[in-house]
């Protein structure tokens, strides 16, 4: 169809001119697409079948990288475990807390603008700075949190220094930075028509029932959006954990004991520390595939959930 339209276009001088102009205006992206997306995507697919130790040229090895990834690499189970911990526990915790904060911001109370500012601010701040701040706050010995716990007679955990507590520490830090998700939820809440609440009240619904049967279904598209972007983000998660594990004296990646070895971090080490570009490319493609599978599962699952809620209510 497009081809026909091009043919028609060429017969007409003005249309030809428009075509040239369209291409010219789009040319930054056309060049960028070829140089920074299409070629690199194809190249990384090719590299994933090679052994590529950076200064040396790539050598074709067939499926070797993928076989190693699925059967021999002893780090993979741990990395997937850590990453899915974030995806399956961290993201739901973030979303629930963000929704809770959004509901608070949507209450009919004074000073909403101030509360909103307080809630959102951390999410836009430099992540290296805020991570170092949290490492200090959660310092096992001198950190303020453990000292406050101490004053109640509780012996605080080792937080980032402990393999059991390092991921909960990350989740705590992420709850602090959840402000932008809160704002997206707030917009969703403000979009729920008041009449729905009023008619629910006439039916005798209490606060909790209104939340369950009006608010949650009405904002389910927002939840779907936040969930998908959150999950994609968690699969590519990097900076906070990189800084947190580097801050420890141990130089092993993902310290303590690999408990902060997430997919993005392992990929970074393979590519830029060990310079195994072929293997890193294979890791990247598996990440791509995992991302797509998880996104499709969420879209399918939540669409059904949203549908039932709406039809059930009617």
């Amino acid at each position: 169809m497009a081809l026909n339209r091009i043919k028609q276009g060429w017969s007409n001088r003005r249309a030809r001119r428009r075509f040239v102009e369209g291409v010219l205006f789009a040319s930054p992206w056309l060049i960028g697409f070829l140089a920074f997306t299409l070629y690199p995507t194809a190249a990384s697919f090719y590299y994933s079948f090679t052994k590529y130790s950076m200064p040396l040229p790539p050598v074709w090895r067939g499926l070797e990288n993928y076989i190693r990834l699925f059967t021999q690499d002893r780090y993979i189970p741990q990395i997937l475990g850590n990453t899915f911990y974030l995806t399956l526990l961290g993201i739901p915790v973030q979303l629930v807390f963000a929704l809770f904060c959004a509901i608070l911001l949507n209450l009919n109370i004074r000073g909403q603008a101030i509360w909103r500012t307080i809630f959102v601010l951390p999410s836009l701040m430099p992540v290296v700075a805020t991570t170092l701040l949290w490492i200090w706050i959660l310092n096992p010995q001198f950190g303020i949190v453990n000292n406050i716990l101490q004053s109640f007679g509780i012996r605080g955990p080792l937080w980032f220094a402990s393999p059991q507590w390092s991921k909960p520490s990350i989740i705590l830090m992420q709850m602090w930075g959840v402000g932008s998700t809160t704002i997206i939820y707030l917009a969703g809440l403000q979009g729920v028509p008041q009449e729905l609440y009023e008619s629910a009240e006439l039916d005798g619904a209490g606060l909790w029932q209104k939340f369950l049967h009006v608010t949650l279904p009405m904002i389910s598209p927002v939840t779907l959006f936040n969930l998908v972007t959150g999950v994609i983000w968690s699969l590519q998660y990097f900076t906070q954990a990189f800084i947190a594990s580097e801050g420890l004296t141990s130089t092993a990646p993902g310290a303590p004991q690999g408990s902060l070895l997430f997919y993005g971090i392992y990929l970074y080490y393979q590519a830029f520390v060990y310079l195994r570009m072929g293997y890193a490319a294979a890791l990247a493609w598996i990440l791509f595939i995992i991302t797509m599978i998880v996104t499709v599962i969420i879209m399918r699952g939540l669409r059904r959930w949203t549908y039932y809620e709406i039809s059930g209510r009617g």
């Binding site: 430099p126 290296v128 700075a129 701040l133 009023e198 972007t229 983000w233 590519a271």
Partner: protein, 288 residues
Amino acid sequence: MTDKTNVRKRPRIRKKVVKAFYYTIVLLVSAFYLFPWVWLLLTSVKTPQQIVEVPPTWIPKPVMWSNYVSAVTAIRFFLYLRNTMIISVVNVIGTLISCSLVAYSLSHIDWPLREPLFAVILSTMMVPFQVTMIPLYIIFTKLGWVNTMYPLTVPAFFGSAFFIFLLRQFFLTIPRELTDAARLDGCSSFGIYWRIVMPLAKPALATLIAFTFIWTYNDFQGPLIYLIDSKLWTLALGLRGFANQYGDVTTFMGAMMAAATLYTLPMIILFFVAQRTLIQGIVTTGFR
């Protein structure tokens, strides 16, 4: 959800109790959000002795303003600030020019491949950046660009799918009658883009500018991969360097928190200056 509950004429006192309860919870959550900032500022002016005191002192005495001097001398703070600003500003300029041109082509020029092209642009957003990261690093190595600012700035001039999408949606709301009238008056396409579409798109352009700046200013992984020589480091790398060098030494914590404060300060200022744009931008872009 709201205080519409008084429809059922509940007693006044009960309403007041509910209100007080709401305020208590909001204050508690606010304390959670504010406390780290308070602790950041307090630590940044503490003496080394006070930092390791157990139980900790709350109010620093004396106030160690000199931590801020140590912060900018222990690492080359102003050099890193300059590098960060260069990379951020160039990114903003590049993204602004390239994305607005492409979005104009996709919204106000009728040409046959425009819709398929838009579909391709959207589909590139699905590819995780780790997939292209490795070949790009290899390309930049071959160009001799590793350990320069080029890999972190040049790509901005070739558009980003996300902002092209954002601008295109906004440009489409500009009435075609307006641009058609200008065309009839003999205005060139570039003239329409520059004199009509761009001035009318200021809110969307402000969103692009603010978020591109924030992303670049805060970015860590990009500089980590490409900037090896410490003369080229950004503040994100500089602060990480600080932590690696002195992070275990708690006596340096005051200076490190001072450096973190100085690094954060421009973002806080930007946040208060552009708060409306940012909050609106989060809602329209879904940026997290």
